[in-house]
């Protein structure tokens, strides 16, 4: 049951983005303005100081807000492409 490679990553692979808060690097990808993918490594998880596990009974997300902001900033600065930017 070997899992194959995501066909979408061939043309547009994930790109490194550094967190402006803790400095660690993750791989990120945005297929659209609304969509964000983040692949963490064990080192990145260990380095992150702002991971909020959320609370399921309040409908809250697990998320690192500084990292999410850093990814948005990378897009705004033109360092992370948006694959289908709707134009």
């Amino acid at each position: 049951m070997t899992v194959r490679t995501d066909n979408r990553l061939g043309d547009a692979p994930m790109r490194p983005v550094a967190c402006r808060s803790c400095g660690t690097t993750v791989l990120a990808r945005k297929s659209s303005w609304a969509q964000t993918t983040v692949q963490w490594s064990a080192e990145a998880v260990a380095a992150c100081t702002s991971w909020d596990p959320g609370c399921s009974i309040r409908g809250e997300l697990p998320v690192c807000h500084p990292l999410r902001d850093s990814i948005a900033r990378a897009v705004v600065d033109g360092d992370l492409p948006v694959i289908d930017d709707g134009r």
Partner: protein, 399 residues
């Protein structure tokens, strides 16, 4: 999005046979109350027959279903004291897997021991630990207590439903990331969607709004008018999902817990089970209203799963789905799921490393897009300016 492709090569569906081993981890086999009737029960799962019964203290025991003497079916036997007695020659088997007594013999032969399955009873549900390597349950993978649910005052008992589905259980796992099918199969409209996979857990957070005109089946059973929902659903291991589900109704929010779990019967079928418990409203005009609501909700969930089952019955297994950018992380979920089908020593970091996939349709995209355009233009202007001054510098130096 590229249209007008010119290549003429046809894409083929690839499929390996479904794995012949079954996932390592806790699997819920049903509600405790089903097994407390003083009789042995048959559970066909993991390609085997199991016998399940409660001993004299009410503790649930699970053994391989076939007697090691001459192969009798223990689940057709009787409970005698704490043991299950085989219908063929009355050998008595204890919950620890040992033969305790042979009524017509003074001595039990050596190695009179069968396979006993580690069990867990929690929140009214019975779990067995499956492990092809035969090891003890992994402590970190213990099933968490349900937050709310029948164990909490003010919540209804489980409204429970069980059905057998004749396909490999990977299909129901895929469901967790398949955003597009919520729209086309279930007529739901997630405005926010997120998957997080990490370690042995996989979570789906979903916020949605409902459209009654698209939900004739629910309207037909008289389910109350729903505005939307917030759902945080987590698989704890390969088969057991707890969904903390908040329904937003015209009259306010209702907290519920939905259990969605399955166990494999064999490679090509599984038993799907789901249950709902509902928090009773603070001031019940009618004490039975919450139970009725729970029953209605189970029917609603059943409608949802029946829609899935209809698709699964006719679809084919596909190892190489052709995904578009709007699809969810199917490959990454399968990579996570694979950890349960390999020996613990063969689990690779990519199967358990944290992965996030988010879709937030509530972001003000146009405003953001404008900001990006401005930044890119500014950067381009700065670069041009820098180039001009470099040029000036070199001209000056050259002069």
């Amino acid at each position: 999005m590229t249209n007008g492709q010119t290549d003429t090569e046809v894409r083929h569906i690839e499929q390996e046979a479904a794995p012949s081993r079954f996932a390592r981890g806790w699997h819920c086999i049903g509600l405790e109350r089903e097994f407390l009737d003083g009789k042995p029960h048959t559970v066909t799962g993991f390609g085997r027959k199991l016998v399940v019964w409660a001993d004299s203290s009410g503790a649930i025991k699970v053994l391989d279903g076939y007697c090691r003497h001459m192969g009798g079916d223990l689940s057709q036997g009787t409970i005698k004291g704490d043991e299950v007695a085989c219908p063929f020659h009355d050998w008595r088997w204890g919950g620890d897997g040992r033969c305790k007594q042979i009524p017509y013999s003074r001595r039990v032969p050596l190695r009179a021991r069968t396979q006993a399955w580690p069990t867990l009873v929690q929140d009214g549900m019975v779990f067995v630990w499956n492990d092809p390597e035969g090891k003890a349950p992994i402590p970190e993978q213990a099933i968490p207590r349900v937050d709310g649910g029948p164990g909490t005052p003010g919540w209804t008992d489980w409204a429970w439903y069980q059905t057998r589905v004749d396909t490999n259980c990977r299909e129901i796992i895929d469901n967790m990331v398949d955003m597009a099918h919520f729209f086309y199969v279930h007529h739901a409209f997630p405005t926010y969607f997120k998957n997080t996979f990490e370690g042995h857990t996989a979570t789906q957070l979903q916020k949605g709004v409902n459209r009654d005109d698209m939900r004739p089946a629910e309207v037909a059973i008289g389910a109350p008018k729903r505005l939307g929902n917030t759902s945080v659903a987590t698989y704890h291991g390969p088969s057991f999902m707890i969904d903390d589900l908040i329904y937003h109704y015209e009259h306010g929010d209702v907290r519920t817990v939905l259990i969605n779990c399955h166990y494999p019967v064999d490679e090509n079928s599984f038993v799907l089970q789901y249950g709902i418990s509902v928090e009773r409203p603070e001031s019940p005009e009618d004490a039975a209203a919450a139970e009725r609501l729970a029953d209605k909700m189970v029917q609603t969930v059943r409608i949802g799963f029946e829609q899935d089952v209809d698709i699964w019955k006719n679809k084919t297994r596909i190892d190489n789905p052709l995904l578009c950018e709007e699809d969810g992380p199917v490959y990454q979920l399968r990579r996570w799921y694979e950890q349960f089908y390999v020996d613990v020593a063969d689990i690779r970091p990519e199967m358990t490393d944290r992965f996030e996939f988010e879709l937030d349709t509530t972001r003000p995209n146009e405003a953001w897009q404008r900001e990006v355009d401005e930044n890119v233009a500014r950067r381009a202007a700065e670069a041009a300016e820098a180039a001009t001054s470099d040029e000036l510098v070199s001209q000056t130096q050259g002069a």
